[in-house]
Subunit: 214 residues, 2 copies
DNA sequence: ACCTGAACACCGTTCAAGT
DNA sequence: ACCTGAACACCGTTCAAGT
């Protein structure tokens, strides 16, 4: 029958199927970033990719399935970028700095991807629509949360709710694509420095209580 | 002391037209918050309001016009709430604290409104779609930016780009509705305290340099 | 297996027609 | 002025039919 399409678990796909899915996702990213969510349709994606609209439905269960794959692919790209950027930081404080500055640089150098992602992350109200999108976001929160918690356990960060701080930081990060779009001339390096410094001030132990170190 | 909230250019409207528009906006808020953006259609809004779908098009130029009115109305509601909550704060530091905690409380006590807003703020990529939505956001950024700049001029805050910090803070604030939706049992009062403390740490002058204080 | 194009139900918008 | 319901072009999805 038809290929099983569940977005997340990588089912074994034929060479041509994998290629088609990549092609469609790529076209979706470009249309989303150029025309925005409202004007993004299967017809336009298909036209841009030089295929029929029906073929998209053949390779993806539905619109939501396609968009979830888009989000997953961009997240994977970003994850690789950030992992490489964080590298072997000696301290959690340094890792946090690199995470933040790395994210800003990623936004700057992948504007189309990050704009498309912004179009899709949207809200969290729709129940069935963004099920997997929400779980992707939950994963991002979880990764940041864990880094913050470990930093606390190593005595580098002050006492705060890691969950709360992860949500707060992620909010600040997700505001960046919109800002770069609204003000394309933004000094990205300066923005990155300001953001990492701001969160360094927000999470560090107070001077008075910082006794032990290293 | 607060900037005027230009709540959309109020065209002279008849009593019945104003009532209909309010009714339609109200229905849109409920459908958006309950079903999410994807499932929100004129047909469903009209059914929920007990009118024909054509009547919505009669009172609003188009879908975008309706949604912009929804955003404007919710923003006006929030603006009133925050203005009252900030009140006559003695210092900018205190005003910032009240702004942040007031916003968290607003999100908690107006979940439907704030969820609907989250569905609409979405991305910034679509060119014609969210024109006024973007300008509303720009206005929010501008108001926060001005408060931060004045706080700097009064020597209460450290040296940072007010524009950058406003965008960063607004990002953290806009992450709240999603978090309250994802974790309805969140301790809202504690969240508010953590957030205001976090930004207090982020913007205050360093202990060493804080000499004068009026 | 892979892909197209027609068919279907639904969408936002328009508009002739009613009050 | 206010409102309806039919008509229109477009949407996502399905599916018979082609390779």
């Amino acid at each position: 029958m038809r290929p099983r399409n569940g977005a997340i678990d990588q089912k074994a796909r034929s060479f041509i199927e994998a290629a088609r899915r990549d092609q469609i996702v790529q076209a979706a990213v470009e249309i989303l970033s150029e025309l925005g969510y409202a004007k993004t349709s299967f017809a336009r994606i298909a036209e841009h990719a030089g295929i029929s609209a029906g073929l998209i439905s053949y390779h993806f269960d539905n619109k939501s399935d396609l968009f979830q794959q888009v989000v997953a692919d961009i997240n994977a790209l970003m994850d690789g970028w950030l992992t490489e950027h964080i590298g072997d930081a000696d301290t959690y404080r340094e890792a946090l700095r690199r995470l933040i500055e790395g994210f800003v640089l990623f936004c700057d150098s992948h504007r189309a991807h990050v704009l498309a992602l912004g179009q899709l992350l949207a809200g969290v109200g729709g129940q069935e629509n963004g099920e997997l999108v929400r779980s992707q976001r939950e994963q991002s929160v979880g990764q940041i949360e864990q880094m913050l918690r470990e930093g606390q356990e190593h005595g580098e960060f002050r006492d705060f709710s890691p969950r709360f701080m992860a949500v707060t930081l992620l909010g600040s990060l997700e505001a960046i694509p919109g800002e770069l779009f609204a003000r394309p001339g933004t000094d990205v390096a300066a923005y990155a420095k300001e953001l990492s410094m701001t969160y360094d001030l927000a999470v560090r132990r107070s001077r008075l209580r910082r006794i032990t170190r290293g």
